[in-house]
């Protein structure tokens, strides 16, 4: 019916393993603090992306409130959903052109 003893005996081993891994990791970081740098950079990048999302969750134009009509600032972020700024013409658009437009 019950196997409670098995369950009671497993967690200490797990916790012990986890404590070992954590302590090893922490000691390595203490020994070589430069290892923090990539984590710090990724953290900062994600923080910036989060800040951008919070600042403008839907990429629309916003008024900034200078005067009654306001001044509109449009910012496009690399790696952030943006519009296509100009008409794109693929290479295949050359097919079917009247010959004198190729010159």
């Amino acid at each position: 019916m019950t196997d409670g003893r098995d369950h009671q005996s497993n967690p200490p081993e797990f916790r012990r393993g986890q404590r070992n891994s954590l302590s090893v990791a922490l000691s390595r970081l203490r020994y070589d603090p430069v290892l923090f740098v990539p984590f710090l950079l990724v953290g900062l990048l994600l923080a910036v992306v989060d800040w951008l999302h919070r600042r403008d969750p839907i990429p629309t134009l916003e008024r900034t409130g200078l005067g009654t009509d306001g001044v509109n600032i449009q910012i496009e972020y690399v790696g952030y959903p943006t519009g296509i700024g100009q008409t794109l013409r693929p290479l295949e658009s050359l097919i079917g052109l009247e010959p004198h437009y190729l010159g």
Binding site: T82, I84, Q86, R89, E92, S93, I95, L97, L102
Partner: protein
């Protein structure tokens, strides 16, 4: 414009590709000869027939007293959607959820199928730089210019189909519902359309996709601009938040911008406008519970007709001095264009865009019923129910064409 070097490189690549394709690959050649010269009086070259959006071709005729199937062409991909087909010369074009399909007008035989995420009815525009017309269509990421000839298909991939892709907004949204964006309209060699998910109207060159002008309708934070209507060198755009703007078709200059006040007698704070129809008398703009006629000179309200329905969709057809509009609850209304007075009403539930030809009003919707109603009397002429649902129909030379869930259906007068 591409540099000369890139141009020459492109020509070389294109020539090699085509030459290689013709010799060793399975190449499907579509007829690349569809041009303005093959167009006729019974064409239906864009969603609402003409740039004014009348939904009425004075030269077209359709089935009058009863219908039978002239032909039906099922397609591989689902033609699920609300966008009407168009008719140019001997070719019908239809947009499905994943493709553009061209059909023979007389037989329904498929001329070509090209993959693409296009979400509106196409609109045909002459393109002087090309041997064939341009089809302007709105997709999920902007407006596209496609070859009316279809280009070529090499090993299942389209080449020479897309000519340009205009400014648009990247979209990550996915929808299981019908693909739908505001259909562009064309006048001469210019394409007028609404950039998807924005309230920006653009005028594009049909050959190159070059932006001639781009303007915002109403408040810059608003969305919900409707399909434009173009008449006498003016582009009219209405929006769901109640704005109507008249732009110079050539320059994009604003002639006027109006936001009519519904008045204190109604709980509305603004008109929830649908797409406009431009006429000699003025601009016919339906809204949820009625229709207004606006002065084309300044946007002021000339008359208002209230039907107290609940139309969340649909524009007006205008033919021979009568406005036809659905109320979304129970009726199709025929309204005198000059005075704004009711001529008759006929029982019809959905809110949709009526089309008119030769004294008959045709109505189709995502509803298992296609209906023809006499434009003079409001009497129901016939009803066709042999499909799960229909798009808006179009009418040609005695034949009505409509997309169903299976493909394209041509109906003619029953013998």
């Amino acid at each position: 414009m591409p540099s000369r070097r890139r141009l020459l490189a492109g020509v070389g690549v294109g020539a090699v590709g085509i030459a290689g394709g013709t010799s060793v690959l399975d190449v499907e050649f579509a007829a690349d000869t569809v041009s303005a010269s093959t167009s006729g009086e019974t064409d239906w070259p864009m969603a609402r027939y003409d740039p004014s959006g009348t939904g009425y071709n004075p030269s077209a005729t359709g089935p009058e007293d009863g219908v039978e199937v002239a032909w039906q062409q099922d397609t591989e991909s689902n033609m699920y959607g609300l966008s009407a087909p168009i008719l140019v010369g001997e070719t019908l074009y239809a947009v499905g959820q994943q493709s553009l399909v061209a059909f023979e007008r007389d037989t329904g035989e498929i001329r070509f199928t090209r993959d693409g995420q296009y979400w509106s009815s196409p609109a045909r525009a002459p393109a002087r730089a090309y041997r064939s017309d341009t089809l302007a269509v709105c997709g999920r990421e902007g407006l596209y210019g496609l070859s009316a000839g279809g280009g070529y298909e090499v090993l299942g991939r389209s080449i020479g189909t897309e000519r340009w892709h205009s400014p648009g907004q990247e979209s990550q949204r996915w929808s299981s519902s019908s693909p739908r964006e505001q259909s562009p309209v064309t006048a001469d060699e210019t394409v007028y359309g609404i950039v998807p998910n924005t309230d920006r109207v653009v005028a594009l060159d049909a050959s190159s996709g070059r932006v001639r002008w781009e303007r915002t309708v109403g408040d810059e934070r608003s969305t919900g601009s409707n399909r434009p209507a173009v008449r006498d060198g003016v582009v009219y755009v209405s929006s769901y938040p109640g704005d109507v703007v008249a732009f110079d078709a050539e320059t994009g200059d604003v002639h006027w911008s109006a936001k009519p006040d519904p008045g204190e007698e109604t709980p509305m704070t603004y008109y929830e406008f649908h797409p406009p129809t431009a006429t000699d008398e003025g601009l016919v703009v339906p809204y949820r519970t009625g229709v207004v006629l606006l002065d084309p000179a300044d946007g002021s309200v000339l008359w208002e007709y209230t039907h107290d329905g609940n139309a969340t969709d649909g524009s007006a057809a205008v033919a021979d001095g009568t406005v036809f509009v659905t109320d979304g609850e129970e009726s199709l209304h025929a309204i005198d264009l000059e005075r704004g007075e009711r001529e008759w009403t006929a029982e019809y539930v959905p809110d949709t865009d009526p089309v008119v030809a030769d004294g008959i009003v045709y109505l189709g919707y995502q509803f298992p019923e296609l209906v023809a109603i006499d434009a003079e009397t409001g009497e129901r002429r016939w009803r066709y129910e042999e499909a799960t649902y229909f798009t808006q129909p179009i009418v040609g030379d005695g034949v009505l064409y409509v997309l169903t869930d299976d493909g394209l259906l041509a109906l003619e007068e029953a013998e």
